[in-house]
Subunit: 162 residues, 2 copies
């Protein structure tokens, strides 16, 4: 079972989904539990496996669909990887720092308390051999705030219509 804290999180997630008008179906209930039970920031694939253990017929599309609902309701943090599966954090859905091992692909939370300065050397406190870091902010630039359609992406500007 999930501990007390995670049970509370489960309740929050279900409430957020319900408020948005989506049903908590058995598959979705199970998906939430799988997501919360894992401490490894699971991928869609791992979540799929976990749900399939109870509901063998479950399709991958259903997992993607439900994750999408969770994203829309800010109930999951998506950690994106290019060329690899995204990873998901349902326990702490707000932006927070991670440690990513490039060998075993584990994704750990980095306790915020440990981090005073993003350029601080965290090798000694974490034991990780740090190879690179990513500190990026996502939002809406001043141009696009005033004139949302004027500065649409150019033909081949990068991100596609995901």
């Amino acid at each position: 079972m999930l501990g007390e804290v995670l049970q509370a999180r489960l309740g929050e997630m279900k409430a957020a989904l319900a408020e948005r008008g989506v049903a908590i179906t058995p598959r979705r209930q199970r998906l939430l539990e799988v997501l919360l039970a894992s401490d490894r920031h699971p991928s869609v694939s791992e979540i799929h496996e976990g749900v399939k253990r109870y509901y063998p017929g479950t399709s991958l599309a259903t997992i993607y669909n439900t994750i999408e609902l969770l994203k829309e309701t800010d109930q999951v943090l998506e950690i994106e990887f290019s060329g690899a599966s995204n990873r998901y954090d349902g326990r702490i859905p707000k932006s927070h720092p991670h440690l990513v091992c490039e060998v075993c692909e584990k994704v750990e939370d980095l306790d915020i308390g440990e981090l005073k300065d993003p350029f601080e050397d965290i090798s000694s406190s974490t034991g990780y051999r740090i190879l690179r870091r990513r500190v990026d902010y996502y939002g809406v630039c001043p141009d696009c705030q005033g004139n949302p359609l004027a500065s649409a992406p150019s033909e081949n500007g990068g991100k596609s219509g995901k």
Copy 2:
């Protein structure tokens, strides 16, 4: 033409490639120039367009191949996006913070001087409406340092063998 500073960068990149034993072919020379000339952290596609203007037959694979060489020689910073094209910074190839506009998809450098704390509110200093941030460290965890093969990714652990 490229300014003085970028000319110097171009020289560095060519030297790094040459030292690794790769030829600076006309296409590669042009690719480096396109990469440096753009202040928008171009995607492979944009670079491809830029190179094709001079060498129309150039294939996408060649761009990917050369970018790979640049990565191996630490001459380009790859900014990864899941589900979208990666973006590349040849001007400053070391990890540094960015501002990503989710509307027009521009990627700007955030002057390090502006950033004392990754959780600082940078909305006012940048004019961006910040929606989320990503502060992640990539490296090798303690387990994998001692025992590189013992903690290989599980069957479906996440990242594939990119």
